[in-house]
């Protein structure tokens, strides 16, 4: 139990997910397992563009998400997707929080 708690705290201390917005985005991307557009994510979270850009830059720099601009049927869109590293991290986080319950 102590080992798991220590592991959970260690994960939560890492820069990328030490913030509830970033961790929340990653968990949502993990469950959706699909691309989400920047504008949709901004609308969902109701936060300013600059804040979302800041959070996504950190997640991208840590290799937890991929951000690509692509031409869609609605015009050019910035698409965000969770990477394998991100998926692994969230899986571990969810397992630990489930065990802590």
């Amino acid at each position: 139990m102590d080992k798991e708690l220590g592991e959970l705290i260690r994960i939560l201390k890492s820069k990328a997910i030490a913030d509830s917005t970033r961790l929340g985005i990653l968990i949502a991307l993990y469950y959706l397992n699909d691309e989400i557009t920047f504008s949709n994510l901004r609308r969902d979270l109701e936060i300013p563009k600059s804040s979302l850009h800041f959070h996504l830059s950190i997640l991208k720099d840590e290799g937890l998400i991929s951000v690509k601009t692509r031409l869609t049927s609605y015009g050019p869109r910035t698409l965000i997707r969770i990477t394998d590293a991100g998926r692994e991290l969230i899986k571990k986080y969810l397992d630990l929080t489930r065990k802590m319950k």
């Binding site: 705290i9 939560l12 030490a18 929340g24 949502a28 959706l32 969902d44």
Partner: protein, 192 residues
């Protein structure tokens, strides 16, 4: 420890907000998609009768089924998201349920064509289809992530009641299509 707990609590709220809105949108699109089926079919038959096109009898079955298959493919993609939001992933079972749903609809239409005077042959598959729609409602709204709103109840209840009877009274297709259109718009407007 207290900080970690607070972080987990806030995180759940953020993730829940994104997932709720994305799933609501998916449900809205699902309602809108199926509300347009009657229109698509109506358009197909209107073109044939207006221009007096003489299609081989196989085309009369193949073209509507192709339209339905496109609808099922799009629905599957929309529901995939909802099926992931469960404790255990059961995508194999989910695909199987979707295949049974599609085949029960196909069977009911086929049976209607061949056994018009023996209702049991097409009422049975349409009741199977109804039962599976109830199951989808249960998985999405009762055991799933979304909470059912009045328009969700309206959409599913109208469909379950009117779908088997609509084989006798075609105008009922338009009734539940309009209800689904309303549910689709309401669902999407909720998150925009």
């Amino acid at each position: 420890m207290k900080n970690a707990r607070e972080l987990i609590r806030r995180t759940r709220k953020v993730a829940g907000k994104i997932l709720y809105r994305e799933l609501r949108k998916a449900m809205g699109l699902y309602y809108l998609l199926w509300s347009s089926l009657t229109l698509s079919m109506g358009l197909f038959y209107s073109i044939i009768y207006t221009f007096n096109l003489s299609l081989p009898s196989l085309a009369f079955i193949a073209i509507p089924f192709s339209i339905i298959l496109v609808y099922f493919f799009l629905s599957y993609n929309l529901f995939r998201k909802a099926s992931r939001l469960r404790k255990k992933r059961r995508s194999g079972r989910f695909q199987l349920i979707f295949m049974i749903i599609a085949s029960s609809l196909v069977l009911s239409i086929l049976a209607l064509n061949y056994y018009q005077y023996n209702s049991i042959y097409y009422v049975t598959p349409s009741l199977v289809y109804d039962a599976l729609m109830i199951y989808i409602f249960y998985r999405t709204f009762v055991r799933g992530f979304l909470r059912a709103k009045i328009y969700d109840y309206l959409a599913f209840t109208s469909f379950v009641i009117l779908f088997p009877i609509s084989f006798y009274y075609y105008f009922l297709d338009y009734v539940y299509s309009i209800i689904w259109l309303y549910s689709g718009i309401s669902s999407i407007l909720e998150v925009f």
